[in-house]
């Protein structure tokens, strides 16, 4: 039997694995989850969960989920010789079950106060047995890439390595769009990095009708004469044309064809803002429609509040870009190449994104590169020497990493962005201030860059055994709640529909789907409970305390 390797990408929105034949390098099978197993809407929520419930608990849940992914690859585990992992520093630390508190707090004072010694997070190869509960042969090598800073890790390095940008001698800006947007500027042999807290708007969250990319989500918008045609994700997650809408009014034009839209993704928000600006329907910070909303059919709309949220996110990215330009001593006009990654960065219409300022203004080419983490994990699993290269790159990056939160330049530009998006300060005035502050000139968008999509879909090669999708990665935790009078307010309040009720027990049983739950930063279920008997943490603790939470064996796990 052949020797095997497994590549594993631990992403904030889900886990993806591939089995690879080590002798031929051929991909055999792929398995993905549609959610991350930990409660939470973003990586900070996952981290927060680990802080509140303990790293061990978080690690345990993650490892059990990973075991399911490995199982779904349908290869002989005994043949697995190497596991390559990739992901951001938080996910990798949770995977290893090591200290994460240093990632949770950016302030040095707090870290010192708590006596936290940040782990080195250097590149390492460890045996599988060092990771408790990992269902792989004991001596199987686990290849763990390094992290630069808490916000810049292997996933960001994957983007630099997998796109080949490091080898080209170009001045280029790479951006990984997410709740935190990681940005990297390549210039004259140097790499400048930073990470801006864009907020979750670019992933469709904190937007009234926003949602992650799921079937039925509006992902783009194209002009259709006087109106606009929706682009909606179909059941297979392919973007297909949807109905024609009048942004000014709550109605669809004619019969809706295609998939009925149920919400709007981050890329949809960007397309909508860009199109509405072109149609003269936005005069920042206002929306110029009779009811101050932009409508995408009968049920979906964007409010002025949403516009502000999205604007802050876009502004944070642009402020990050300009700050790095200052660090490198160049101006935004000097950048001719842009790379966009992350789900939003890959699927967004790059031209629309450029109009809003999410990528530099004077580009020749834009590469939309997809998620490069899985490919990176594959390289690590097949060619462990890649790890040395990553370690070198990590050292290089450390030298010129910019902490935006501590940068006066970033602060000044971000305030200009806030004024632009929230107060409607015109860009002419924005530019005057840049001039006054002695910052580089931000030219207007000129020309139309060539847009190169390097991926057709997220994972190019699924392998000869094909793809398995795990849709129920979350633990479903049932708990009999003393004092619950079955008012169902928690069930209704939950924004993710993570709670259900089984009324035929006494006391009543409430069931929480952990992967759907938004985590410990939300707690709306707790706050709404009139009897004050709903305690979210009890669900998490109940499932972890001594129970084996593996699928099918736990008494606490309910199947549909």
């Amino acid at each position: 039997m052949s020797r095997l390797a497994i590549a594993l990408d631990i992403g904030t929105s889900g886990i993806r694995g591939q089995a690879i034949d080590l002798s031929s390098g051929e991909i055999l099978s792929t398995a993905i989850t549609t959610r991350h197993p930990l409660p939470g809407a973003n990586v900070m929520d996952h981290l927060h969960f680990a802080l509140e419930l303990g790293v061990e608990t978080a690690n345990n849940i993650l490892i059990q989920a990973i075991n399911r992914v490995i199982g779904a690859l349908r290869v002989k585990k005994a043949d697995v010789q190497r596991l390559g992992v990739c992901g951001n520093p938080i996910q990798l630390s949770l995977f290893q079950g090591i200290e994460v508190r240093d990632l949770a707090y950016a302030g040095a004072r707090k870290l010192k106060l708590l006596g936290i010694v940040p782990p080195s997070r250097k590149a390492a190869i460890i045996p599988a047995k060092a990771i408790l509960g990992l269902n792989l042969p004991k001596d199987c090598d686990v290849v763990i890439p390094p992290a630069v800073r808490h916000e810049v890790g292997a996933d960001a390095m994957a983007m630099m390595i997998q796109t080949g940008v490091l080898e080209r001698e170009e001045t280029a800006m790479a951006t990984d769009f997410g709740t935190n947007a990681e940005v990297a500027l390549f210039h004259d042999g140097a790499i400048f990095t930073g990470s801006t807290a864009a907020g979750p708007a670019l992933e469709g969250q904190q937007i009234t009708c926003g949602m992650l990319a799921v079937p039925g989500a509006v992902s783009d918008l194209e002009p259709a004469e006087d109106y606009h045609r929706l682009v909606v994700l179909d059941r297979e997650m392919f973007p297909v044309p949807g109905s024609v809408v009048d942004l000014r009014e709550k109605r669809s034009m004619g019969e809706a064809d295609g998939t009925r839209p149920i919400g709007i993704t981050g890329t949809g928000v960007i397309a909508l803002i860009s199109q509405a600006m072109e149609a003269g329907l936005i005069a920042l910070p206002r929306i110029n429609t009779p009811d101050g909303r932009l409508h995408l059919g009968r049920d979906i709309f964007l409010t002025e509040g949403d516009l502000r949220e999205a604007g802050k996110a876009i502004g944070a990215v642009r402020a990050g870009h300009i700050t790095l330009c200052c660090e490198a001593g160049i101006t935004p006009a000097d950048i001719r190449i842009a790379y966009m990654s992350g789900a939003s960065g890959t699927y967004v219409d790059a031209i629309k994104a450029q109009k809003l300022g999410m990528i530099p203004p004077c580009l020749e080419r834009v590469y939309q590169v997809g998620n490069t983490s899985l490919a990176m994990a594959g390289d690590l699993a097949c060619k462990p020497k890649t790890l040395n290269m990553m370690a070198d790159l990590g050292d290089r990056l450390k030298k010129s990493h910019c902490m935006f939160a501590a940068s006066k330049i970033f602060q000044k530009i971000f305030i200009l962005e806030l004024s632009h998006w929230n107060e409607g300060m015109p860009m002419t005035q924005y530019r005057r201030f840049m001039n006054k502050y002695g910052l580089p000139n931000l030219p207007q968008v000129s020309g139309r860059p060539e847009v190169i999509r390097t991926v057709k879909r997220d994972i190019n090669d699924l392998g000869k055994m094909g793809l398995t999708i795990i849709t129920d990665i979350g633990r479903k935790i049932g708990l009999q709640v003393e004092g619950c009078d079955s008012c169902k307010q928690c069930v209704r309040e939950c924004p993710e529909k993570a709670i259900s009720m089984k009324a035929d027990t006494d006391p009543i049983t409430l069931i929480l789907d952990e992967s759907l739950c938004n985590g410990v930063a939300c707690r709306r279920c707790e706050r709404v409970c009139p009897e004050k008997v709903f305690q979210l943490d009890r669900f998490f603790r109940h499932a972890s305390a001594g129970h084996d939470a593996r699928p099918g064996t736990s008494p606490c796990r309910y199947s549909e």
Binding site: L113, I415, G424
Partner: protein, 249 residues
């Protein structure tokens, strides 16, 4: 046909008059130097401000320069901001210029001037994302409040201690990371236990209204620009519950 040029006795274009009057800084003093002080403030010119203040202080009382030059100029800046003529960066520049101007006047007086009231601002322990706080500081200073700026990554103990010493009208907290906002309920509880029922305005990317109103003293600050209105309320004796009822929900 003859056409007239002067129509003032015939009709008045109130809309245009208002628009023109709105967009230009109004004259605030007959005293040339005090007007110049105000002009420097309105244009946010800190360097010119220092020269002008020195000139003005030669034959004027420092308090006169503050009250009739700086504060009136700042009112004009606030008005222009309210009217949508000025934007945040201009307000911040003016605020900086005012602080510099007041410092010079205070130096001449040999003591600090009496401010409206004291507000302590901080960014949560573990968090260094303090842009929101920087804006709040500028706006509160501009509105005449004394700002005790504890900066970023402020331990709970330090903040509570500062409240004990300074007895502020209001405390503000900013947090961008959900992991750091947990300091806020701790602070609120400690202040309450000490009998310091100070309105505690929490804002920033991480926190939402539900979270902040789940603990006593907490008032959710949606936008940095609300800070001044809230501080005015606290100055007028509104308690945290009244303020929460007014600004939240």
């Amino acid at each position: 046909m003859k056409f007239i040029t002067e129509t003032s006795g015939i009709f008045t274009r109130y809309d245009i008059n208002v628009e023109v009057g709105r967009k230009e800084p109004r004259k605030i003093s007959e005293d040339e130097l005090l007007q110049k002080v105000a002009d420097c403030l309105i244009s946010g010119d800190e360097e010119e401000m220092e020269t002008t203040i020195r000139q003005a202080l030669r034959d004027r009382e420092p308090m006169e320069v503050i009250n009739k030059g700086l504060l009136r100029g700042m009112r004009e800046v606030s008005r222009l901001w309210d009217e949508g003529v000025y934007f945040l960066p201009q307000v911040i520049l003016s605020s900086d210029a005012m602080i510099a101007g007041i410092a010079l006047c205070e130096k001449k007086m040999g003591k600090t001037m009496e401010k409206k009231g004291r507000v302590i601002t901080h960014t949560a322990e573990g968090d260094i994302h303090d842009i929101g706080q920087v804006i709040v500081n500028a706006l509160l200073s501009a509105a005449g409040f004394e700002v005790i700026n504890l900066g970023a990554d402020v331990p709970v103990d330090v903040l509570v201690e500062a409240c004990k010493v300074h007895k502020p009208l209001m405390v503000t907290g900013t947090a961008l990371m959900t992991t750091t906002m947990t300091a806020f309920p701790k602070i609120a509880m400690r202040l309450k236990r000490l009998g310091l029922e100070i309105p505690f305005v929490c804002g920033g990317g991480a926190v939402n209204e539900e979270y902040v109103t789940s603990f006593d003293l907490g008032i959710w600050g949606k936008e940095a620009s609300q800070a001044v209105g809230m501080a005015e309320d606290a100055l007028n004796g509104l308690g945290w519950m009244e303020m929460r009822a007014k600004w939240n929900g």
